[in-house]
């Protein structure tokens, strides 16, 4: 495309301009096409969810087939317990790995850890479920909340690690140098100065991981297994919100579908709020993706 051809051949220019506008509009179209399913899913879930959401949903146990009403109280509590177990496992490991990758990034090992974290974030969640089954369910001889929480914990690790790393990288080097220059030891600098500075970012990262874990279904199918009664012992099968949605969604009962929509609405709402919060806190700090 030399300069001559542009000047001598106005038809060519016209064609290029045409291609230009066609391609640009295609890109704009792509943007819109992507937004449509989101808005559709969001409004559909909200619409069907809110209409079936009531106090019973949060306070009642599931009713047997055929009886109207009932709720998912046990599943909500179950989800909370599972996420707590997951958090106990996932958050410390995630934060520590993030610190390691960011603060000791010179070493060869830390780049391997970074790579492995990326790989772990791509491992399908159902595989983690099988893993938890092999490690906890088989030795214990029964499905348990512990196994479910363990699986969720592993799934939380990469998200927490990634955000911790990104947040720590934003802490100015001069801050670390100032602390080290005052004779503070390296680990104390990391703990007291760097971590404190980045804490709000890390907390949002943890929230993000929790929101993601709250919606995970696949790894719970054969670890926490589900339960239609109250259960708070962690060595027993336990209900979870996404599991309950799955069971109800594939059932043939109209009333159960309604409840599943209510559950779906609760989940979407949670995801939306957490993401909004994360956006708000990290607005000017970093524009990466996960």
């Amino acid at each position: 495309m030399s300069k001559d051809s542009i000047l001598k051949n106005p038809k060519n220019l016209k064609r290029r301009k045409l291609i230009n506008s066609v391609m640009i509009s295609l890109c704009v179209l792509a943007g819109l096409v992507t937004i449509i399913p989101l808005i559709y899913i969001f409004f559909y879930t909200t619409q069907s969810g809110i209409s079936s959401l009531n106090v019973d949903f949060f306070t009642q146990l599931p009713k047997p087939v055929g009886e109207e009403g009932g709720g998912m109280a046990n599943a909500i509590v179950g989800s909370l317990i599972l996420i707590s177990i997951g958090g106990l496992i996932g958050i410390p490991v995630g934060v520590l790995s993030g610190i390691y990758i960011s603060e000791y990034s010179k070493s060869f090992l830390s780049s391997i850890v970074k790579f492995t974290t990326d790989i772990l974030s791509g491992v399908p969640s159902i595989i983690i479920g099988i893993f938890a089954y092999g490690v906890i369910v088989i030795p214990m001889q029964r499905f348990s909340a512990l196994a479910g929480g363990f699986a969720l914990g592993i799934l939380m690790i990469p998200t927490v690690t990634k955000i911790t790393e990104e947040m720590l990288k934003l802490v100015p080097m001069s801050l670390r140098e100032a602390s080290l220059a005052l004779g503070v030891s390296r680990w104390k600098t990391t703990l007291k100065i760097v971590l404190t500075t980045a804490s709000s970012g890390i907390i949002t990262g943890i929230l993000l991981a929790i929101a993601r874990a709250a919606g995970e279904t696949a790894p719970l199918l054969f670890t926490a297994f589900g339960n239609s009664f109250w259960q708070t012992k962690i060595d027993q099968p336990m209900a979870a919100l996404p599991l309950q949605i799955f069971t109800y969604a594939i059932s043939p009962y109209e009333d159960w579908h309604r409840q599943a929509w209510a559950g779906a609405f609760v989940l979407i709402f949670l995801v939306f709020v957490v993401n909004l919060l994360v956006r708000f806190v990290t607005r000017n700090k970093f524009s990466g993706n996960l």
Binding site: A30, I35, V93
Partner: protein, 283 residues
């Protein structure tokens, strides 16, 4: 450090637990299309086929759209529009897959049955892919849902990679009289290995996706050319049968399916990460 050990442990555990089925079926496991829990005869071919076809079709749908979105967000629109839209797309990535599946069976599958599938059959019906029974659920439905799910991932990475291409290159193109699209095309060409990485990453995500696929793919272990027909995927057979598997051979076979799935996603993800690192490292 723990993470490192963990990934190896996961692989090891799955390898050990699938020993029984590996001993019994050997490599034939991958090529046999028999899956019969009653006769205790297991082969994974239909699941592998379902997983690969649904993921690749999803990628074919998603890739052009993702690149379009990335270009739209990073090169075309003003910042005031970009922020809310990229936020919405991030949310799209954060919606739990169970909700996609739920929406898929109750809203999208009927829409496929009444609108999209008849339309495809009347226009492209001469191809074997677009013939057959229209149930609504099936390979194509699963692929489209997967495409919606992986678009945010691919477009986010494409945006990152485009950001890593120096601005001066685009300015140079404009200075030579290039149109906007020509400048963008050049940036895209330079970023191609990174975009490929993003695509491969999306593929990995699609292959491992469980709940949404389980709910819309139809769950029938068969190999047919038509995209309308129900099929089965590796992740969904594990999800459906694991908890109520009969006999240790059944469980062991399911774990072997999981092991294959793990191996495939591991290779795909490594490849993707290496491609992405190679572009963004120097940014």
């Amino acid at each position: 450090m723990i993470i490192l050990a963990l990934v190896f442990y996961v692989a090891l555990e799955m390898f050990n637990d699938s020993a029984e089925s590996r001993d019994k079926f050997g490599f034939g496991f991958i090529f046999s299309s028999e899956w019969n829990p009653v006769k205790e005869d297991f082969g994974a071919l239909p699941f592998i086929y379902g997983t690969i076809v649904s993921s690749i079709v999803a990628l074919l749908i998603s890739l052009p759209v993702s690149i379009g979105v990335a270009v739209f967000l990073s090169e075309i629109v003003h910042k005031s529009v970009r922020t809310p839209i990229s936020f919405l797309i991030e949310i799209l990535a954060a919606i739990p897959s169970i909700i996609y599946g739920f929406w898929g069976i109750f809203v999208f599958a009927p829409f496929m049955r009444t609108t999209i599938q008849p339309m495809l059959e009347s226009t492209l019906g001469f191809l074997p892919f677009f013939q057959g029974n229209m149930y609504g659920t099936g390979l194509l439905t699963a692929s489209i849902i997967l495409a919606i799910m992986i678009t945010p991932i691919i477009s986010a990475i494409t945006r990152d990679v485009l950001k890593a291409i120096p601005k001066s290159q685009r300015e140079a193109a404009y200075a030579l009289g290039a149109t906007k699209w020509e400048a963008i095309k050049m940036a895209l060409l330079n970023a191609r290995s990174g975009i490929l990485g993003g695509a491969v990453l999306g593929l990995g995500r699609a292959i491992g996706e469980t709940m949404a696929v389980t709910m819309v793919i139809g769950n029938k272990a068969q190999i047919v050319a038509s995209l309308f027909e129900p099929a089965y995927s590796m992740a969904s057979v594990i999800a459906n049968e694991f908890a109520e598997a009969s006999g240790s051979l059944h469980i062991s076979s399911l774990i072997e399916v999981g092991f294959i799935l793990f191996g495939v996603t591991f290779i795909i993800n490594s490849l993707a990460r290496l491609l992405i690192y190679s572009v963004t490292r120097n940014a």
